[in-house]
Amino acid sequence: MKKQPLFFILTFLILILTNSINAIEFTSFDYKNEYLEPGKTYDIWVVINPDEEINNTILSIVPYGISKEYIQIIKGVDYEGHLFQNEKGIGHFIIKIKDNAPSYDYEVVVYCNYTKNGKQYSENRIFKIPVRGEAIIEIQNPPILKEGTNKIYLRITNKGTGIAENIKITFENGKNVYALSNSYVINYLKPGETKLIRLILYANGEIGELPYTITYQNPYNLLELTDKTETDTSTTSTYKNQKTIEEKGTLTFKIVPNDLISINLKNITYPVGKINNLTISIKNNYKDANFIITIGKYYLGNNQKTIFIKKGETKEISFKIKINEMGIKEIPIKIYFDENEINKNLTINVIGKAELVLTGVNVEGFGEKIITGDLSNIGTAPAKSVLISIKKTKNIIPKRPYENYFVGTLNPDDYGSFELHCQINGTVNEIPILITYRDENNNLITIYKTIKINRDVISSKNGNKGEMNYLVIGIGVLFCIGVVYLIYRGFVRKNND
């Protein structure tokens, strides 16, 4: 008998609870789908069954917890009013699952407020809303194919909110474009994820079309209610399963000739440390277009130039470059034209070069000329076995032992003195000088230079100022005649007399 008071209390409590709370019963919560999809609007019906007569019945739906972020209530309150005992009340709500809602079993609370015997009551119950996102697969292909075999990457992106599984892409033979392997399989693709398919295509013609079929699966049964019949006793629903999706499409390519442009360098060797013109000739095999050419290194001033080249035409474009190091150098070049970009490296050879100049040259003497001066290397490479000599001509005869002069090796910024002798006959304005040396590769290099001599010293110039010459000659002759006259007058005439 010890347990009697406890049993009594429990029975009493249960009586109180059942009496006060279970005045109404939530009989169904229906949204006509197995799963809800993000981005869609759904009607929700909540059916209640009151045990007693109730008044002022108001049904409302409120998202709960994380659902507040992803479920938007469009119509959240429904007024039922007075309900008799066992009279079904149906509340209609409209909700929208937001686009970005991840797949999850969201929860909503349905409240039922009513008055019974002049007192207000509120009852609630939590319902689950299972949201399952649908995968949306998008295929992106590069717009341009070259003629012949192309290795391209297809971008497969899941733009939807659900995971896609067992993705299979099958290509058929298309117009102008042929895929060398037919089908590709990707295991899964998460929402927002992109995977690449390496594809080998053979293209020929102008515009290519490649039809494809893609099938993929949602990981759950995406059942959509298509038909529902209700009788007094049972309800029959017909669903369409959207678990496996098959889509067809066509990839479109623009096919361009294989060698769109050919790039050539006019000169591949350049002297070090000097400002040079890098001349690039571009042949356009593609179509009339504006070419934007950019070089990435060693440039002076402008490194980007635009040039219009017609189809089939070759044009040259020059950049100023300066390279301070010797050796093989690469200049990156970028060419943009008509949505194409070509990146290439131009290889050039930068070499040092000896450059010999005559400095402080002095020419002395009347008949025999003595030429003295310095031979200076203002270049960037040494000159070996430098020999300077006078070139023999009809009027210039080199004189031993100074017909040539061995200067030796001249390093950059070095100089060596020389002395040359020659005999000059007749009219000579300049003395031709021959300089030979060996460069770093032992090539014999010959330079011709001339040393100008002042005309007043040597040349006998006639014609240009001939009249003035005649004046001088005239004066001379007159003077002589005058003196002869004086001799005649002073001696000859006197004797005769």
Partner: protein
Amino acid sequence: MKIEITFQIYLLQKRFVEIFAMVKLMKNLIYNPDIFFKNIAKKPANLKSTLFMIMINSFMVSINSILVFWFIPHIQNNKYFLLTMAIMFMAMFLIFLVYFLILWLVIAGISHIALIKIFNGVGNFKKTIEVISYVSISILVGLVFNIIIQILGNWTNTSYKIMGAISTLSFVVISIWGVLLFAKGIQYTYNLSFKKSLIIPIFTFLLIVILNTSQSILSFYGV
């Protein structure tokens, strides 16, 4: 004061008269050497004019020589060009002064001894020197002409060949004139016939030509 000024003017007038007399003499020498040397032979020896002629000769030869350097190209670019030229001129002037003095003494001495010993002439050594100084007038004329030709030729860019030819031609003519003048002078100084007296000047002329082996313009007139 007045007397002093008058005296000064008198002196100046005397100078002018002297110069006029000199010019008249020179005119006679050029136009009528026969009369000129006849008069000279009668007068006593006058070495003043000889000294004067030596100075003028040296001066002219120096100018003639300096012109050769003057017109060498590139020399004019030198910073001290004018100073160098002035110093060179002074040096040349002094050298030629001594040179002429010795040369004339030698020529006069040889001529004098030769004339007395070989031709039995009767004459004065001082007179011979004076005669040589007057003969040098002809060379002076040649020098002046040569200087003018050099300046003119350089100014008009005339070639050296033409100038050389003109110089040589003038030298030949002047030499003939000089030889004749010298002969005339000897004729009256030593009381010889003109043909006999011609031998010594021609000999002297040939000697000078042989001595001056170099053929430059300078050497012709450097005599």
